[in-house]
């Protein structure tokens, strides 16, 4: 494939897809290169699915600005893209007297960050808000604007909207090198060469390796692993708010949160690992997470574990995101988007579009947006099974029609993992005991055994 594009985005995670969407909707010709068999197969695969207000982000940081802008745009467009928003609020809970002394500082910082509805909550109110939380919870800070979204449908919607505006998404297209000559990039990829006037590096955990194509990378990625344990659906009745830890220098606390799919999860851990690609769990950590969840919400005892997973966040030696334009090289770096990427991605895309406009030329006049609503996966909005149909995955109530549709269209699931992420099939308590053979058959029929 040898085509000239205005923009080539490297990386099909939530950040790359939001950037692709922004430029495609601005009328530029865009291509995205993803190394995996499907989009969202790297850092974006294993996050918590939370919409952050930025109340605890570093003051004055680019990260905070992108979170705030991303949050606002998500709320603005979610209705037109059929994206979920489970209004939950968050509570930063103090479990010791020492932690309690830090709550006032958290409120002050939130206010300074422009999140003004954040307020302290004393123990009586905390009991009222979360009666099933352990009595060891002393006091808290309430963050009314933190909510639960879902990690898959938003980036999938961004991808579809970009495609509707003419973008091209190449999968199994790892970028292996590139040359900049006569004002254009010629990238070598496993899907063939691609040429573009400007390149945007949104390669996540491979960001520094990709950056080396343009310059000695100004950052090094040390993937930070986060493990999660997901409890079965009855557990989601035990807490309402996202239960956040009080940050400390010594220990990194974990979050107890409902998921948009009606489960309760605990995680993530924060472990620096050398591995960029495979996010592995380990039994001892999973047992600790499970035990910690039971300490926080004792009524969890007796409720089974549905799923375990881990994600890798692209952490760098820098505290803030590394987003900058290299005017002489027609290159924009988007690196070190650690753990707030899902919320911030739309804000990052706006910021990158601004960098492009000031360094590489004005964006064309914007055509009317085409809206591409995605299938809803969450219980708080109507799901396809409610209209009837043949259920293929019983635990998650996924219809056969949903699975067939996820294997069709302009961006069909690239592998079984992509199919799971798009539909939730095989993600429930039985983990495919009942349905995996049937789902595999549907997948093989549609992809003619290309699995």
């Amino acid at each position: 494939m040898q085509r000239g594009f205005d923009i080539a985005v490297i990386g099909g995670g939530v950040v790359g897809l939001a950037i692709l969407r922004r430029f495609a909707m601005s009328g530029l010709s865009c291509v995205l290169l993803e190394r995996g068999a499907d989009i969202l197969s790297g850092a974006s695969k294993g996050n918590s699915g939370l919409l952050h207000t930025g109340f605890d982000a570093p003051a004055g940081s680019l990260e905070l600005a992108c979170i705030r802008a991303g949050y606002a745009e998500y709320i603005d467009i979610r209705g037109r893209l059929n994206l979920p928003l489970v209004k939950s609020s968050a509570l930063v809970v103090a479990w010791s007297e020492e932690e309690r002394t830090k709550l006032a500082g958290i409120v002050a910082k939130a206010h300074a960050n422009g999140v003004e509805d954040v307020r302290p909550v004393e123990s009586d109110e905390l009991r009222r808000l979360e009666p099933r939380l352990s009595p060891a919870a002393k006091a808290a800070v309430l963050v009314p604007g933190e909510h639960i979204i879902d990690p898959w449908s938003a980036p999938l919607a961004y991808a579809h909207q970009a495609l509707a505006h003419g973008a091209v998404i190449l999968r199994d297209a790892e970028v292996t090198g590139g040359e900049f000559a006569q004002g254009a990039w010629r990238l070598a990829s496993k899907a063939g060469p691609v040429s573009a006037r400007a390149v945007i590096n949104a390669a996540g955990n491979f960001g520094d390796l990709v950056e080396a194509i343009a310059r000695p990378p100004p950052f090094t990625i040390t993937p930070r692993r986060g493990q999660f344990v997901v409890f079965d659906k009855p557990a989601s009745q035990l807490v309402t708010a996202i239960i956040l830890p009080v940050p400390s220098d010594r220990t990194k606390g974990v979050v107890l949160f409902r998921t948009a799919y009606g489960n309760l999860a605990i995680g993530p851990t924060a472990e620096d690992v050398p591995e960029r690609e495979v996010a592995a769990t380990d039994t001892a950590t999973l047992e600790r997470l499970k035990a910690r969840a039971l300490e926080m919400a004792p009524s969890l005892s007796g409720i089974g574990v549905s799923a375990i997973y881990a994600g890798l966040r692209p952490a760098t030696e820098h505290k803030d995101y590394v987003i900058e334009a290299l005017p002489g090289r027609s290159w924009i770096t988007v690196g070190g988007i650690r753990s707030t990427g899902l919320t911030a991605s739309l804000g990052i895309a706006r910021h990158v579009a601004g960098l492009y406009a000031s360094h590489f030329g004005a964006l064309p006049s914007q055509p009317d947006p085409i809206w591409t609503p995605v299938p809803n996966l969450t219980e708080e909005r109507p799901r396809p099974y409610m209209q009837g149909g043949e259920i293929a995955c019983h635990c998650e109530r996924v219809t056969r029609g949903e699975i067939e549709r996820a294997l069709e269209g302009p961006l069909p699931a690239g592998d079984l993992g992509g199919l799971r992420r798009r539909t939730r099939a095989m993600m429930g308590r039985c983990q495919g005991f009942s349905c995996s053979a049937h789902v595999e058959k549907l997948f093989r029929e549609k992809t003619r055994g290309a699995a």
Binding site: P234, A280, I308, R397, F433, S434, A437, K441
Partner: protein, 288 residues
């Protein structure tokens, strides 16, 4: 709202025998089965050993399931019907046309059991393809004719673990090892001997599975034996047994009568069939 005297949730051996016995006793029962075909777990147990208690025959699981369906020909058996929830005596039922409510004079829950998957056992490692339970393996092999791997390890040594060996042999797959955390195998004798001598599968007792390794497919498992760690190269992992009742409908503690393996202790399909009959007789006498 539709009203039924007795609603049985689950069309496996227990549910279908309860419905048939109720019908013989003059009580109309409705069986709601979520799959497109009734018969329950025996549908995908392709080896012999089914039907003796009920029909004095020894059949394969699919043959037994077929016979159960034939026996149910005149019953009100509704496949593709999923019960979403139970509130008092009202069931929320999903089918092709949507969700409706059904009132039942009596509810019998016969939803069976399933094996504990890797996740609930908190087994770490990566998440490659080729990790499944015996039930999923049997559905791959006997219902879809797929061969998911060539040399898997089998985790556990219950009766069902030997069923996993049989299922592998059916498609010409030889497991590389059977791994059991306890010091002796869980199935009654001569299970271990059978595995070793007849099927050529080494049985490693006192051996704990630590992690699964592999990028796209399984490449190895990490084990611990007598305090030592080792890797076994393999291309699949079969988690067997550790049965967990399919009891999601019991969350709000509805008033239902349990029949078959949803009780917890694993029973044979024949025992479930007998229990279904016994429950039907109790219901007919107003004792359950």
């Amino acid at each position: 709202m539709e009203q039924r005297d007795v609603v049985i949730i689950g069309g496996g051996p227990a549910g279908l025998s309860a419905a048939r016995r109720l019908s013989e006793l003059g009580i109309a029962a409705t069986v709601l089965e979520r799959e497109q075909q009734a018969g329950g777990a025996p549908r995908h147990c392709g080896h012999l050993g089914f039907g003796w208690e009920s029909h004095r025959r020894i059949w394969t699981g699919p043959r037994f399931a077929e016979r159960l369906r034939t026996d149910s020909a005149n019953l009100d058996l509704r496949t593709g019907h999923t019960v979403l929830g139970i509130d008092g005596n009202v069931l929320r039922v999903l089918n092709q046309r949507g969700i409706s409510e059904m009132a039942a004079g009596k509810i019998i829950l016969a939803t069976g059991t399933r094996e504990t998957p890797r996740s609930a056992r908190l087994v770490g490692g990566s998440r490659p393809r080729g990790v499944m339970t015996t039930g999923a393996l049997q559905a791959h092999v006997y219902l879809q004719n797929f061969k998911p791997f060539e040399r898997p390890v089998i985790i556990g040594s219950e009766w069902v673990s030997f069923s996993a060996i049989l299922t592998c042999r059916h498609i010409g797959v030889r497991p590389v090892a059977m791994i059991e955390a306890k010091d002796r195998i869980s199935a009654p004798r001569p299970g271990g001997l059978l595995a070793r001598l007849i099927y050529g599968v080494p049985v490693w007792t006192g051996t704990r599975l630590i992690a699964i390794d592999g990028r796209t497919g399984v490449e190895a498992v990490e084990i611990e034996r007598h305090g030592r760690h080792a890797r076994i190269a393999c291309d699949g992992v079969i988690f067997t047994g550790e049965w967990a009742p399919e009891a999601a409908l019991l969350v709000n503690r509805p008033k239902v009568t349990l029949a078959g393996n949803v009780h917890g202790d694993l029973k044979t399909s024949g025992a479930c069939w007998r229990e279904g009959r016994a429950i039907a007789e109790q219901v007919a006498r107003g004792q359950a």
